[in-house]
């Protein structure tokens, strides 16, 4: 186990939260409650995805983990954010956005 695993987990979560909240605002979501839900959903899924990928860094595991995260997040949005009309599409878009922008930032830094 890497000694900087906690840094990896922390930075991943922070970056994910910032990017997905940004995406939520761009998508027109407003209100502290729904944005808080977005933050909680990502706090729920991002750490286990990052930790499991650290332990099993294969492409297959990555795809599986990310698909799982999108589905779980979509389900939570469906059950809890009734005003969100397309919860799974939102989840897919938010995750794709956070990864793509995160990857770009990683190359720039």
């Amino acid at each position: 186990m890497r000694s900087d695993i906690f840094i990896i987990l922390g930075v991943s979560l922070l970056l994910t939260l910032l990017l997905e909240l940004a995406f939520s605002l761009l998508a027109g979501l407003r209100g502290a409650k729904v944005l808080c839900l977005v933050a909680l959903v990502n706090a729920l899924t991002n750490p286990p995805v990052v930790l499991l990928y650290t332990l099993f860094p294969t492409l297959a595991a990555k795809i599986l983990l990310e698909v799982g995260a999108v589905l779980i997040e979509g389900l939570i949005y469906q059950k809890c954010a009734l005003a969100l009309k397309r919860p799974y599409l939102f989840s897919l878009g938010a995750n794709a956005f956070s990864y793509f922008v995160g990857a770009m930032l990683g190359r720039l830094v």
Partner: protein, 274 residues
């Protein structure tokens, strides 16, 4: 209008993200400036090398500004290799936020389990129940490779182990058997089947063939690890000298965050139901 913009934006993002097959942010804190922009040209090798003499680490394969020096006798962990236009194979070393590139021709690869498996393929067969019924009594020792005399990891009696953990078995000329664990609790190694909890195995006692490096550093760099031989994940470059404590703390922290998030999300769910 908002929906149209959002749809177009989503389409663009998905198309652009398609090659990566990813979602979410997984931070890879490569401090190295060269690797991120050349990742697709790099090969994952994930192995240790020794420095037979003083070795210089450079800024990058394209910038030979000396960055640091490794003394003779140092052991370097190289995660990825890159071949430049002149055919020189470089390896990236990274530790504690510092990184540099070294020429693999200056290094000597450390003979490891992967080399052992390449040399002894004829004596290695799929696991066939050789460890059936075994349960850890005190400590199970995982050796670097049969006859190495080097213990890479240990499992205590509190850790469950099933036959699924074993993938193959090596049978030495004198009949000694070793079962291989490719990955268990982020560890890998060989178990001496006939006496798995004996920590005092000497290389001679197991009658395993004497190891000798079989690959030049350049050959090692071009041999991408097979699923059978891979000892450790990309993002965890410590093959078997593990500290389980770090893993337990990490799992604990993740579970704590997940639990707190789940409790708060449950409140949202109850409110939504009303």
């Amino acid at each position: 209008m908002k929906k149209t913009i959002l749809s177009l934006f989503l389409l663009l993002v998905l198309l652009a993200a398609a090659p990566f097959a990813h979602a979410d942010v997984i931070w890879e804190p490569y401090t190295d400036k060269f690797y991120p922009s050349h990742a697709d040209q790099c090969t994952y090798i994930n192995r240790y090398f020794d420095a037979p003499a003083e070795v210089t680490g450079y800024e990058s394969p394209e910038n030979t500004t000396a960055k640091r020096t490794f003394s003779a006798g140092s052991t370097l962990f190289i995660s990825h290799s890159y071949t430049d236009g002149a055919g020189t194979v470089w390896g990236v070393w990274e530790e504690g936020g510092e990184s540099c590139w070294v020429k693999l021709e200056d290094l000597k690869n450390v003979y490891d389990s992967r080399d052992f498996m390449d040399e002894h393929r004829a004596q290695i067969a799929p696991y066939n129940g050789e460890m059936a019924g075994y349960a850890i009594e005190n400590v199970l020792y995982l050796w670097s490779y049969p006859g190495s005399g080097v213990i890479d990891a240990k499992l205590s009696s509190g850790e469950a182990i099933t036959e699924d953990a074993f993938s193959s078995v090596y049978t030495a000329p004198d009949g000694a058997r070793w079962a291989y664990i490719p990955y268990l609790y982020a560890m890998s190694g060989w178990v001496y089947v006939d006496d798995p909890e004996n920590a005092s195995l000497e290389p001679a006692a197991t009658a395993a063939p004497s190891p000798s490096p079989s690959l030049s550093p350049s050959q090692a760099a071009t041999n991408a690890p097979t699923p059978e031989a891979t000892a450790a994940p990309v993002s965890a470059p410590v093959p078997a000298k593990k500290d389980l404590t770090m893993l337990y703390w990490a799992v604990g922290a993740v579970v704590l965050v997940m639990a707190a998030s789940a409790v708060l999300i449950a409140r949202f769910y109850r409110k939504a139901k009303k």
